[in-house]
């Protein structure tokens, strides 16, 4: 927390949790999808469903999916923008269970890829992404993040940490989650700095991993 978190962020109103946080969830999902989203099915939970309309939460989520940052004055126009860019979307109310009241489920489709994420806007524009494609995660978008999907076998963590150590990139957090023993696993690595492009490429070339995704830190804009 610094002075510019208190005198800031610069954002489009009205609510840091219902608007700015919603934009950041959309933006996180877009970056994870890594291609232009063509279809979005959005389930609004709790307070996002109850007071989201008046706070512009649906517009904010769309804005993020379209790549706008929380301080972009086109956020109120994001429905029109979605139409222009060929993003087909649908909103519904959804009960995600005993989770934060400001939560959302995004099901996205882009060219040759799909993604489902569950995330919450936890206050002050900060977010918590807690499920990606069925894997439990705990990501806030504040760090450059690498996500790897692989069959649960010994050695995956060692390989990743060796490559990062070689590039002298410090790991802020590293968490692996699996569906079951010997099943599919997802490793989420949050980094202290942006890795050089070679690092992601070398991870992609390894036989260990079926999928390697990189998401830059979201920042707050302004």
């Amino acid at each position: 927390m610094g002075i510019f978190d208190v005198i800031g962020p610069v954002m489009v109103g009205p609510s840091s949790s219902h608007t700015a946080g919603a934009v950041r969830i959309g933006l996180f999902a877009r970056r994870l999808l890594a291609v232009e989203p063509q279809r979005a099915e959005i389930g609004l939970h709790g307070s996002f469903a109850a007071t989201g309309e008046g706070h512009g939460t649906p517009l904010a989520l769309l804005a993020g999916l379209l790549g706008l940052s929380p301080d972009d004055e086109r956020i109120p126009l994001s429905a029109e923008l979605a139409l222009e860019r060929g993003l087909d979307y649908q909103f519904e109310d959804e009960d995600l269970g005993d989770v934060h009241p400001n939560s959302v489920r995004l099901r996205l489709r882009g060219e040759a890829t799909t993604l489902e994420i569950h995330a919450s806007s936890v206050g002050g524009g900060r977010i918590k992404v807690w499920n990606i494609d069925g894997f439990a995660v705990n990501l806030d978008g504040e760090y450059p993040t690498i996500l790897l999907v692989y069959p649960d076998r010994p050695g995956a963590v060692a390989v990743v940490s060796a490559i990062l150590a070689n590039a002298t990139i410090n790991i802020a957090t590293l968490k692996a989650h699996r569906t079951q023993r010997g099943g599919q696993a997802l490793m989420a690595v949050q980094l202290d700095e942006v890795p050089p492009p070679g690092v992601i490429d070398s991870l992609r070339h390894l036989p260990h991993f079926e999928q390697v995704r990189f998401i830059p830190a979201l920042g707050f804009g302004g």
């Binding site: 610094g2 005198i7 800031g8 489009v12 608007t19 007071t51 008046g54």
Partner: protein
């Protein structure tokens, strides 16, 4: 002097440092930020100037054209106030009306999905620009002193975040509009040459004045009564700054008042903490009768 070293991150610690170095509190807070961020002083000042520019822009937008929210609860209040006062109707002169209208303007722009600086929150974004800019204009304060005022304000906000809360969901409106008032009041006192002790007195007065103020947003939206509470906050900031500058002492240390605000906030029933389940939020808004 007291032999006990004050806890880091408190106003007491900042005050002690300011006294020892004989500098204003903005220097202490700026140096802390340089240390924590590893960035240069001039970069931080430049960033603050861009924040100030965004505040000015939202203020001008809210005064220039009537802002209407999606819910219909906000319908150009700032614009109406300025139009009306133009004919000399203002009860306490133009500057007073300007103060109120500026707070409404920024808060209305926020409610209507315009761009603002959340300072400290989106819901209380009208307080600081209204109070600090209006006083700076009235007293012809140079830009550099204005930038410093925002560092003082930001430093105060960080202390409040540490010792209490800046969130309506945690502490009610006192934690948002109350904190914004305290930040603005402290900034104004330094901007007009008040001592660090007077800055802290202004912080104490501002929070004491709205101790216990609940957060009861109608329909759960940041509109009613939030927008007018921003005007109250701006008024509270200027009043507190003026009383502190006149030398009225605070009977309590600012840190203690901040901690008390935090305690009161935690004891507020959940109905009064942004849930829209208590207070004015239970009333049915009536149609505009103007």
């Amino acid at each position: 002097m007291n032999a006990i070293t004050p806890r880091e991150g408190t106003l007491e610690a900042a005050l002690l440092a300011a006294h020892e170095r004989r500098v204003p509190l903005s220097d202490i807070f700026l140096d802390q930020e340089i240390q924590a961020s590893g960035r240069l002083r001039e970069d931080l000042c430049a960033l603050m100037r861009t924040r100030i520019a965004v505040m000015r822009h939202s203020l001008q937008r809210g005064l220039a054209s009537p802002q209407r929210s999606r819910s219909g609860l906000i319908d150009g209040g700032a614009h109406r106030l300025i139009e009306w006062s133009g004919d000399g109707h203002g009860l306490l002169g133009a500057a007073f009306t300007k103060l109120l209208a500026s707070a409404l303007a920024v808060a209305e722009v926020n409610a209507c999905m315009g761009r603002v600086v959340a300072a400290p929150t989106a819901g209380s974004c009208g307080v600081m620009p209204a109070a600090i800019f209006t006083v700076a204009e009235e007293r012809n304060v140079p830009e550099e002193a204005l930038v410093r005022a925002f560092f003082t304000a930001g430093g105060i906000g960080m202390v409040i975040e540490k010792l209490a809360s800046l969130s309506g969901a945690e502490g009610g409106c006192q934690a948002e509009v109350g904190s914004a008032s305290a930040m603005a009041a402290g900034g104004i006192v330094e901007m007009l040459g008040g001592s660090p002790d007077q800055v802290c007195a202004a912080v104490s007065f501002s929070l004491a004045n709205v101790m216990g103020l609940i957060c009861d947003p109608v329909l759960g939206l940041v509109e009613e009564p939030c927008v007018r509470r921003n005007a109250l906050g701006a008024l509270n900031a200027v009043a507190s700054a003026e009383m502190a500058l006149a030398g009225i002492p605070s009977l309590f240390k600012a840190d203690k008042v901040i901690e008390t605000m935090g305690k009161v906030g935690r004891r507020l029933p959940e109905e009064f903490r942004e849930t829209a389940r208590g207070g004015l939020a239970l009333l049915q808004p009536e149609a505009d009768k103007s």
